[in-house]
Amino acid sequence: MTALNTLHRLFSRPHLRLIAIVGVIVPKRLRADWRQEWEAELRIREQRLADWDRLDTWERWDLLRRSSSAFWDALSLQRQRREEDVVQDLQFGLRMLAKSPTFTCVSVLTLAIGIGANTAVFTIVNALLLRPLDGVAEPDRLVQVGRQFPDKTYLSDSSYPDYVDYRSQNTVLSGLAAIAPRAFHVTARQTTERVEGELVSSNYFDVLGVTAARGRLMAPDDDRAVNGGQEVVLGYRFWQRSFDGDPSIVGETIDVDGYPFTVIGIASESFAGTKIGTPRDVWVPLVSVRRTDPAVAGRLRQRMPSWLEMIGRLKPDVTVDQARAELTVIARRLVDTYPDTTVRAAVGVEAGIGRDVDVQRAIRRFVNVPFVAVVVVLLIACANVAGLLLARAASRRKEIATRLALGAGRIRVVRQLLTESLVLAFIGGAGGLVVGRWLTTGLRTLLPERYLFLSFNVDFSPDWRVFAYTFGVTTITGVLFGLVPALQGSRANLVAGLKGVSASETRRSVGIRAGLVIVQVALSMVLLVTGGLCVRTLFNVTAIDLGYRAGSVLTARLDLAKQRYNEVRGRLLHQQLLARVQALPGVGAAGFAVTLPLNDGRWEDGIRRQGDTTRVQTFLNVISPGYFDALSIPRIAGRVFSDSDDRNAPTIAIVNQTLARTLWRDESPIGKRVSMKGQSLEIVGLVSDIKGRNLLEPAGPILYVPLWQSYQPNVILHVRASAAPMSLVADVRRQLHELDKDLALYSVAALTDHVSATLTPQRLLAYLVGGFGMLALLLAAVGLYGLVAYTVTARTSEIGIRMALGARRSDVVGLFVGGGMKMAIAGVILGAIAASGVTPLMRNLLFGVSPLDPQTLIVVSVALLAVTLAASSLPAQRAARSDPKLALRCD
């Protein structure tokens, strides 16, 4: 009956009730007048309209609507709230925290760890996903423009004539720039360096809104100048790195790919190109290829080739959709005007530059697990601090009861306790920023330079987003751990409170704390099991047989394409270099290939059995003699390439087992022939399979072709060392330098580094989840320790009685350890059940281990129980050492 009455009261005259509710936030001294004013108005209206019961729905709704605008009025009165209230709470809170330094320190540390872990993960996500491109003006007004082929999700490049037409015919973009990423050999002041740069239209910097750190940048009209195309802009990092930041480089003439260019300026420090993670070192005018590269210059006149990225800036009031619509019209016009020479593709316009959509998707998918892990760690930290606060509230019962007795509303007391919690949270949050910084730096060491198409060469410093996120997390944390203790601590049991600690209150608060500990243990269990599975996955993946030996192998890239080496000179250089390197002491074997065994280059082609029409897709690698030795890939049948397999010899090839099986089933491939791109090749050897880029997938088919027969200017040198591979770097470099001092090796690394980079996700998961799991366990153990210590102190008199009645010390210890372990076991069981529900969701992240792997569960349970045993026994031991007489005497 009373429930109905309450409802009736609530809903009759809801507009007046709303005033009462909103009135809660009006400062107290203004409240009565305020309510009077609003209620009077609403009542008058009500009377004017009719009796409440005779009002129709619209009229009732209108009254409600009017009273709801009282909310804005109440908000405006917040300014008049005597700041004294809030400041008073803050001062009191700080004083109380200073009075109990141990509590404050432990809590702040716990919170700093929990919040810091979240900050660290968010910092990394921010750097990889959220941060807009640096160094450009208004990046949200920039769009990518490109050809949209029906079967591809991403935009493709365009051609130069198409670009010129888009640029001149559109009215939606204030500028459209064309970009072609390219590697250049830059020679200046006696040194040559291979750098990543871009060929750009002269309005590139103007469209992007980049500023110059020194000198000037390309101006939009430079293209048309008579001498246009002879200037370059250097990147800031490149300038610092290779020219020591010497300002006199501006105006100097340098060599780019062997042709002279003038340095007109340095780009600003924050700008490094339009692809986050791939910094560019030099920008060269697109039109300069007329002078330096006739092959590419021919492309300037052709509409078909796809080689230019386009970035445009939307005019002030133009939307992406409008731009897309107009550019589509232009695209159709181009197809109609040049039906034979232009590509039949739609044009695509995408907002946002700097990151690939695929990259973003991949990161988002991966980041879920670590994110959940840190949230769990934070929850455990909150539970710890909540428990500590509960204990503290019990000891402040007298103070709170006095306040309540003197007339403070319960809400006031709750507000004050919450303020204390928030102060604690914010101190912890400040610590969290520091911890987060450390963690971020530590996590960065786990990241390689790049993983597939993802570059980790980004700025990980915290920006406003990180601070805002930390602020938000801190506030939520404060409310989360502060609410229950505040509500609990303000319960109006005045008489008992004034007298001191009551048994039932203690029991209730201990009960809540015990519940918290059980939840903490359960959460740690889930994290540890997940972490354990990730660690096992990492082990399994690292143990996969690659098919070749990566240890002790050095790899280095050599690019002859730019250095005016034709085929004859290039082949000669390759042969000489290889001979020299093979002769070096400490070198077991050496060979060239065009792609790493990881198939980074993804060379694929279609081949046919001789006389057959069906094409078979296969990976292709062009290698020199010595390659299989360098990688220790066993030969199964036939022979390997030798120096006599050159231009004058018959064209041959070697297949791996998978390819042989695909083409000829169980027959021996030796002597059979295949045809590729019109060429006929005889198979002379069969080698063992090797794993490609994805170690988890079976090996793919590989066709090996001799480098001496099929010259490639861009090759990778593989050197097997008898000792540490990197120790050979200097010697190898010297050999190359002796042959041609203008050449340089780049991308020099041990093969194991490349291999371990492919395992980045597994490694990250194992470290992150495993690490956070152990952190969670530590926090839970601390929570358990605190609780057991508290119960020991609270039950001191009981201990005294028991010991006086003849209990031995070991019995007392057993009592408390038993209590602690009961909680731990409950937590482990709860955690095991929860883990079994959660881990199957991670199935596709695991390898070689089932999500419900019993071994992991058992090992983790045992470890958890051992740690909790230690956490319970320490305080219990202390209890046993106390003197029973003293225990009885204290209250």
């Binding site: 009077q36 009077a40 009377q47 804005w72």
Partner: protein
């Protein structure tokens, strides 16, 4: 903001009070602005000294069985500010004044 600057909303409300609409809800009705705008503006104008307020007599309210209403009156400085505002916000002059010439007729 110089002394005596009022926003258009505040000037409208001042105008309403000057033309005889003394009660908050009357001003809400006649100006069409919501209570959440009118009431804070009334308080601000009172703080600035352009309006004074009084609670109506208890007897009047009791006889009509409702809580007391607060009613506002314009002060001398308020009138000066209104004159200046009407000059600045010329729309106030034309549209409002004609309608407000007979306040009683708008009270339905």
């Amino acid at each position: 903001m110089g002394k005596g600057f009022v926003s258009l909303a505040a000037a409208t409300i001042l105008n309403a009070v000057a033309n005889g609409f003394s009660f908050g809800f009357d001003i809400v009705d006649i100006t069409g602005m919501p209570g959440g705008t009118v009431y804070p503006a009334l308080r601000r104008l009172e703080e600035a000294g352009y309006l004074t307020s009084e609670w109506e007599k208890q007897r009047v309210a009791q006889s009509e069985l409702r809580p007391r209403l607060k009613y506002y009156a314009i002060t001398e400085s308020g009138r000066q500010v209104l004159v200046a505002a009407v000059k600045r916000y010329r729309l106030l002059d034309q549209a409002q004044l004609a309608r407000l010439r007979d306040p009683k007729s708008s009270r339905a």
